[in-house]
């Protein structure tokens, strides 16, 4: 029998990572501070989840400056978009099959 959860991506298991990816799917690029405001979480927490997604190759990071302040923006990578869409499809499939 086919395992129904085989397509559920472990990287998106967490609510915050799911939130980050959802935001990046509909916006070209989002800054660290905007993500922080949207998700309502602390710097450290957000940074660690972003690091995880970056290591999986799902997001692209661009470091820049506004004046002297650092301004890091994030965008979904091609692989990230693909993985996220597959994850959504898997979620949909699971809900449909359990009805």
């Amino acid at each position: 029998m086919k395992n129904p959860i085989e397509h559920l991506n472990k990287s998106f298991d967490n609510r915050i990572r799911l939130g980050i990816m959802s935001t990046l799917m509909v916006n070209d690029e989002v800054s660290f501070n905007e993500l922080k405001e949207l998700l309502n979480i602390t710097d450290g927490n957000l940074a660690s989840h972003l690091k995880g997604l970056e290591e999986s190759g799902f997001i692209r990071v661009q470091k820049g400056f506004i004046g002297r302040k650092t301004n890091t923006t994030y965008a979904a990578s091609k692989a990230g978009e693909k993985a996220f869409k597959a994850h959504l499809a898997a979620l949909e499939e699971m809900i449909r099959s359990s009805k």
Binding site: G19, T23, K99
Partner: protein
């Protein structure tokens, strides 16, 4: 059953984050109702003044009404009273609209000054400022008859543009304002009625529908 619920929750989270990050959705229906009420009060206060100058011009043909450099009219329009009423109405409407939207954003826990609200403000302001400059020139030249339709059309265009960055329903309000403005172009001299309907009644209707749809249950 339990896992099904977690997956549904995950999907709802995704949907919410996508909307919250790309559109400014804290716009309150009550803002529309308040702004509409301000406009109606403003129109009621302005009515006697407009009516007085209207009596004087009722017998003139529309072409004259558009371009006639009528001293009495100039004094009445720019000569503070009407202008002051218009500015006060606008300020009151903006204040109330901001207040209710601010309260709503507190309730839904979304930042009011975010990337999405900045984008919304910019996209509303562009057509409005262009329209404002155009209308200012009309005032200078003395073509008062075209002011009210101009307000409605440019405001409608601003809303149409804004609808990409906020609640989709704003689009229909924008289209209604544009149609109203265009009709008004052929019924010059009745600007105050169109103005009251477009900025007053349409806002209130829109506000009620939005409140009913999104805020009633909360």
């Amino acid at each position: 059953m339990n896992t099904e619920n977690t997956h549904l929750e995950a999907l709802q989270d995704i949907k919410q984050m996508m909307e919250r990050s790309s559109r400014f959705i804290s716009l309150s229906g009550l803002s529309g109702i308040a702004a509409g009420t301000c406009a109606l009060i403003g129109a009621a206060v302005a009515y006697p003044i407009v009516n007085r100058s209207h009596l004087n011009t009722a017998e003139r043909n529309p072409a004259e009404l558009i371009s006639y450099n009528h001293e009495f009219l100039i004094k009445d329009y720019t000569g503070s009273s009407l202008f002051t009423i218009a500015v006060c109405t606008l300020l009151a409407a903006i204040c109330f609209a901001f207040l209710f939207t601010y309260l709503r954003s507190k309730k839904t826990n979304t930042p009011i000054w975010s990337a999405s609200s900045r984008r919304l403000t910019l996209n509303v302001m562009l057509p409005l400022v262009a329209g404002g400059i155009y209308l200012f020139r009309l005032l200078q030249i003395g073509t008062y008859g075209l002011i009210a339709p101009g307000c409605l059309i440019f405001y409608g265009l601003a809303l149409l543009n804004a609808s990409k960055y906020t609640l989709r329903e704003v689009r229909y309000l924008g289209i209604c304002e544009i149609i109203l403005g265009i009709i008004n172009l052929w019924v010059i001299g009745n600007g105050i009625y169109f103005w009251a309907f477009g900025f007053g009644i349409l806002h209130i209707l829109y506000g009620i529908v939005m409140w009913w749809k999104y805020e009633r249950k909360q």
